[in-house]
């Protein structure tokens, strides 16, 4: 009997030993907990930050963002020149770089990449669709000058061109691999990046191993594994159980617990994100600027970012996020001042204005839209607004908001993440960008001065000049208040204490080359 007992105890101990070893991640392999399975590993075919986080480790672009900034520096291109008229960009390419499949990176490869995306008659255009190719719609032609020189002809001067090249849509894929795999290239990716694609198991993992020949120095890690874990609670549990080394997009509720755990490190970084509510400036109460300002004074954004978002965001002052630190703006957010809001409503002569407020159930970059919506509603009610919320599922929501708010709603939540200060105001605040013209100005804001400044900033190739112009835009739009400015999100991640050299980038991308553990 005693013997039997001993044996059982041994078996249990053995089993436990065997099990707990499971939760250990191997020393030179980094396991990253992602929020979803990637759609494709073809950088030109995807739109989600979640996918970009993998892609920037497999591919390089001609240029990239300098570590910790949103400024552009050389990558596959060693240098470039811009013509006087701002319409010709000539890139000198790095020599001797090879794609993971062994083929050469050269000017022909660069041309192939952009022609595939932009030309309907390109033999591999059908390997798309390429949803973000409009980032390069200014590109008229890509010309091969010699093997290591390539020239981009633009149809108009377009300042955001370089930062669009640094964005994942500008990553360079191997033409040979595209030719070989066709539509399935997204499952058989080949680039020049620090890690080589190894394996993709549906909804389980994407694995990539070290590229020993990497032109910018081989990574320390032997391999990285990206695991999709869609349920946020499960992701948190997996982090606590030791099944992953890094977790991105930590739910605000769990941050405090992670912070107090000595075995974990919390990393934060402000990004070029802005969360706001579009106000309908064409009709209804928000057609009056004073009412729009009243809304901005009425809402307690400090409470929103500190309590609802648990400190994972800062209060937004205007349309341009502070992450673009080269834009020097002194505009301060609207303070929380209900008395002033009431006064403005009195001046405007409106009494308990009725407002229909579109709220999203979820969605990319929307943070916590339902709770945020309810908190905003409560603040607006307390100064006299009469707010009715209508909640929609994300895709339905986008469909309704993007076609314009006229006749339907007075305000709608929205969030944007960008790579250049041009993008958001250009797409959402110009007179020309109305929904009828295919733009995103769903609230019909129109100020000729802003239109003018944006046009100028877009065609200037001098960063200092652009910085001044955007600072002016920030100031005017803040004053006109076509939006309820709410928050700039700080992205976050958690790593185990063993992970070294991990940093989040303002671009929201995840560079793992210099990480070790």
């Amino acid at each position: 009997m005693k013997r039997l007992f001993q044996r059982a105890a041994l078996a249990v101990a053995f089993a436990l030993g065997g099990f707990s070893a499971l939760a250990q991640t191997p020393p030179t392999v980094l396991i990253v907990g992602q929020i979803a399975e990637p759609k494709s590993l073809d950088p030109h075919a995807v739109t989600a930050t979640n996918d970009f986080r993998i892609l920037v480790n497999l591919y390089d672009g001609l240029v990239r963002y300098k570590d910790g900034t949103l400024e552009v520096e050389p990558a596959l291109a060693e240098s470039w020149t811009i013509s006087e008229d701002g319409r010709t960009y000539t890139f000198k390419l790095r020599k001797g770089v090879k794609f993971h499949d062994g083929s050469d990176f050269n000017a022909d490869a660069v041309k192939f990449n952009f022609d595939r995306m932009l030309k309907d008659d390109h033999p591999f255009h059908d390997t798309g669709p390429f949803p973000l190719s409009f980032n390069f719609s200014a590109v008229e032609a890509v010309n091969v000058v010699d093997d290591s020189t390539v020239e981009f002809k633009l149809n108009e001067p377009f300042a955001p061109f370089l930062s669009n090249l640094a964005y994942p849509t500008g990553l360079i894929v191997s033409p040979t691999a595209v030719e070989e795999h066709g539509k399935d290239f997204g499952r058989h990716p080949s680039g020049t990046g620090p890690f080589k694609f190894a394996e993709w198991q549906s909804n389980q993992l994407v694995a990539a191993e070290r590229n020993d020949e990497y032109w910018d120095g081989a990574p320390t890690l032997e391999a990285v594994v990206f695991r999709p874990i869609t349920d946020a609670n499960t992701r948190v549990a997996e982090m606590l159980a030791g099944g992953i080394d890094i977790m991105v997009e930590v739910p605000p509720d769990n941050l405090a617990a992670f912070r107090s755990d000595a075995n974990l490190k919390v990393v934060e970084q402000a990004g070029p994100h802005v969360w706001f509510a579009i106000l309908n400036t064409k009709e209804g109460p928000f057609a009056d600027k004073r009412v729009r300002q009243a809304a901005n004074f009425a809402v307690n954004k400090e409470t929103l970012v500190n309590d609802v978002l648990q400190g994972t965001a800062t209060v937004a002052a205007g349309p341009i996020p502070p992450a673009f630190n080269w834009v020097e703006s002194s505009v301060e957010p609207y303070p929380h001042d209900p008395e002033r809001a009431k006064k403005l409503l009195d001046e405007a002569g409106v009494e308990s204005p009725k407002v229909t407020f579109y709220v999203a159930e979820g969605g990319s970059g929307m943070l916590n839209p339902v709770t945020m919506g309810a908190a905003i509603q409560a603040d607006l009610q307390s100064v006299g607004f009469d707010v009715a919320i209508e909640t929609y599922e994300w895709n339905t929501f986008l469909g309704r908001v993007n076609e314009g708010l006229e006749g339907k709603a007075d305000m709608a939540e929205m969030a944007w993440m960008t790579n250049d200060p041009d993008t958001v105001p250009y797409l959402t605040l110009r007179t020309e960008a109305s929904p009828e013209n295919g733009g995103f100005n769903s609230g019909y804001y129109s100020n000729p001065q802003v239109d003018d400044l944006l046009a100028k900033a877009r065609s200037s190739t001098e960063q200092a000049e652009r910085a001044e112009l955007y600072a002016r835009v920030q100031e005017i739009v803040h004053e006109d208040a076509p939006w309820l400015f709410v928050a700039n999100w700080k992205q976050n991640a958690v790593t185990t204490a063993a992970v070294q050299g991990f940093e989040l980038q303002p671009s929201f991308l995840l560079h793992l080359k210099n990480v070790s553990k």
């Binding site: 494709s40 997204g186 895709n395 295919g438």
Partner: protein, 315 residues
């Protein structure tokens, strides 16, 4: 018998056909489209139109349906918009994972449910019956996603006995033992409610049978109580419990949707949730057809089993 099976199998075809039309209609009626889902915030009418054209979604709905069904009849289920991959590849891969999870949990809930139900009936109003009834009610009432999370927190986070999520270990796993370890928590969570239902119904069926004349006759013949219960009563009760198990198979397949999400099990349920939210109509079609077909097959199997146990039905 084989004619009966053939007839039942043939009757699946119109069901699947009708279902495919319903799925097509419903998917086209819900607001939003794949292009908007792909483009997100960048969904301008212009961009949406461009993507729709590239995906062949600019054609009239009826034409789209006939193109699709024509291709399906030739074995081509199309490509998933969102995953950029043939629907058939994705569905087959994911369905295997679901079959493993649903199969194991169906066996688990049947065995546990039947045993608990029989004990409960035989010891009616005794302490065993009371304990079982209490546990069963608790099991039925518990939301499974909540139970799943609690099990993860206890077994994976606190005690570190079992993996928290996934189907195989990321590193060094991949064998049968690894699979079993990953199966324990999701299969258990998925089985709890179904086991409760089966236990309740088995108890009721057993009580019903135990009151009947042939049981009294068997007891009067002097058969042992064990023999009376397991050879006579249980077999008779099983006839009315088997179809319930067939229905539970559908429940288990349906329940896999959220259990798979909680445990990040790479199955077809989690795939469908994603496919619907990205308006990936072809992937939804493929997934629904496979799930529906397997549901029909599960039920057919249950019916056949019932026929074998109860000769009155077959004739």
């Amino acid at each position: 018998m084989s004619a009966y099976v053939a007839k039942r199998l043939l009757s699946v075809i119109p069901v699947l056909f009708g279902l495919s039309i319903i799925v097509f209609l419903v998917m086209s009626m819900i607001p939003g489209d794949p292009a908007t889902a792909i483009l997100g915030a960048y969904a301008t009418p212009e961009n949406v139109e461009r993507i729709n054209r590239d995906l062949g979604l600019d054609k009239p709905l009826v034409q789209q349906y006939f193109i699709w069904i024509g291709n399906v009849l030739q074995g081509d289920f199309g490509r998933s918009f969102a995953l950029n991959r043939p629907v058939l590849d994705e569905v087959t891969e994911r369905f295997q994972a679901t079959l493993i999870l649903a199969g194991v949990s169906l066996v688990l809930c049947s065995v546990v449910g039947l045993v608990a139900g029989v004990i409960s009936a035989v010891r009616q109003f005794g302490w065993a019956d009371k304990v079982i009834t209490f546990v069963v009610l608790a099991g039925i009432s518990m939301p499974s996603f909540w139970l799943g999370l609690i099990l993860i927190l206890l077994f994976a986070v606190k005690w570190r006995l079992l993996p928290a999520s996934g189907m195989y270990a990321i590193y060094g796993g991949g064998d049968f033992k690894d699979l079993l370890l990953h199966l324990v928590l999701p299969a258990l969570t998925l089985a709890v409610v179904a086991a409760g239902v089966i236990a309740r119904l088995t108890r009721a069926a057993m009580l019903e049978v135990l009151r009947q004349d042939f049981i009294r006759t068997a007891r009067a013949k002097g058969l042992s109580e064990r023999r009376v219960i397991y050879r006579h009563a249980f077999r008779a009760a099983l006839v009315s419990v088997i179809p319930i198990i067939g229905i539970q198979a559908g429940f288990v397949l349906g329940g896999a949707v959220y259990i798979e999400t909680v445990f990040q099990w790479p199955g077809i349920g989690a795939m469908l949730v994603n496919a619907i939210s990205t308006r990936d109509i072809l992937l939804v079609q493929g997934g629904v057809l496979v799930v529906a077909a397997s549901y029909v097959l599960f039920n057919l199997a249950a019916d056949l089993l019932q026929t074998m146990l109860d000769p009155r039905i077959g004739s």
